[in-house]
Symmetry: C2
Subunit: 210 residues, 2 copies
DNA sequence: TGAGATAGTCAACACCGTGTTGAGAACCGG
DNA sequence: CCGGTTCTCAACACGGTGTTGACTATCTCA
């Protein structure tokens, strides 16, 4: 429950913690994680650097907190993804991939920072893994079901296929968002990725088509 | 030309420079780039830290030098890749992707470090881009040719397809080499990747098959 | 109301890694 | 053997991280 009664003379701890998170997200939109110092975060939240350590044990912990909210959203959204791929497989995959793209785009600063920090920080890596794993579990379940009902050819294992396609999504989308080179246009991503998914899952452009 | 005559009393500059490179590659095999300090490189090469700066302006420059050799090899190998995909498209793609995998595997320390440093360093990003661009150019040329001769369906642009598939390779292979999770087994990579390439380029498992 | 617990704050400090400076040693070609 | 170039490093400056300890504000319960 939120603060009751009159506002206390002093800014509350929760507000400060939140101010750090808000500052971090704002600064991360403009520059890389490494280029944001704890001093920057503290100043942004209106506190001194040592006081920052009262709220977070490190800069990475701030990223972790930010990432945690994204992961929660991912798991929630993946859990509610429809699994009825019989009637319109192509459309259903496109909608699922569209959600993946959407999550990335709406949290691009955090995603980019997390991908960068992943190599260095175990917890970031673990959290990121977990969210990728949700997507992989979802997709490999569906691929397996499609293979079972004969709509998709066997060939390679559903799990390996799901992992590869999801890693492709991750990489292609970050490349597009950060305007890397080579990369594809952000606007083309969903279309291109869907086509690759569908062709490689079904071995055809038009699964279930007449 | 190599050193002539008797070995000089003092170790030559070129040897020192090389010793730094060798040390860097050795240390990078065991730990992340960020965890290797200039002090470590200097000690490994038998010099003091300030002397390191006589040979390289920064730690990144060492990585750049290492990466440069890899890029040269990539461009050379890509340039010599056969482009006769008519008779055995599936086999030809598998051989090309096999070469991609091979380069990664044989320079895994440098590749991993470069991918990590890419976000931070413009020159690393540029160099990496260039090598990815060689692969992309090669693959999009071949895809375009396959589409032109009617072996592959149009659907999505050859360039976007080539970029996406190459980025998938990069990501899937690094995940496998670093034993990330989710990832596929290193031994399965070539098979899985080839299948996805062939299905998404030709819309079939068996292009040109009877 | 006032004594102790709890939350919050920060100046000052210790540390580590990077990069610079300036003085000098070793070697080379004339 | 002398002048220039190559090479070397102690000592320093700096910036970022994380810690300490003392201090202030607020809350709570007798």
């Amino acid at each position: 429950m939120a603060q009751r009664g009159r506002r206390s003379a002093r800014v509350s701890g929760d507000e400060r913690q939140d101010a750090i998170l808000v500052t971090a997200e704002a600064l991360l939109a403009g520059r890389a994680f490494d280029d944001v110092s704890i001093e920057d975060l503290a100043r942004g939240a209106g506190i001194s650097r040592p006081t920052f350590y009262f709220y977070f044990p490190s800069k990475d912990a701030v990223l972790l907190a930010l990432l945690d909210r994204v992961i929660t959203e991912v798991e929630h959204r993946v859990g509610h993804l429809p699994r009825d791929f019989e009637s319109d497989p192509a459309g259903a995959w496109t909608r699922s991939i569209g959600m993946f793209v959407e999550v990335f785009v709406s949290h691009r600063a955090v995603s980019t920072a997390a991908i960068g920090a992943r190599a260095r920080n175990d917890e970031v890596r673990g959290l990121w893994s977990r969210s990728m794993q949700s997507w992989v579990d979802f997709s490999s379940d569906v691929i397996r079901a499609e293979q079972a009902r004969g709509a998709a050819p066997a060939g390679i294992g559903a799990h390996d296929l799901a992992v590869s396609l999801n890693l492709m999504n991750e990489r292609v989308i970050t490349a597009a968002l950060n305007r890397e080179s080579p990369a594809i246009a952000e606007t083309a991503a969903l279309d291109v990725l869907s086509t690759i998914w569908i062709r490689s899952i079904y071995g055809s452009d038009n699964p279930g088509g007449r």
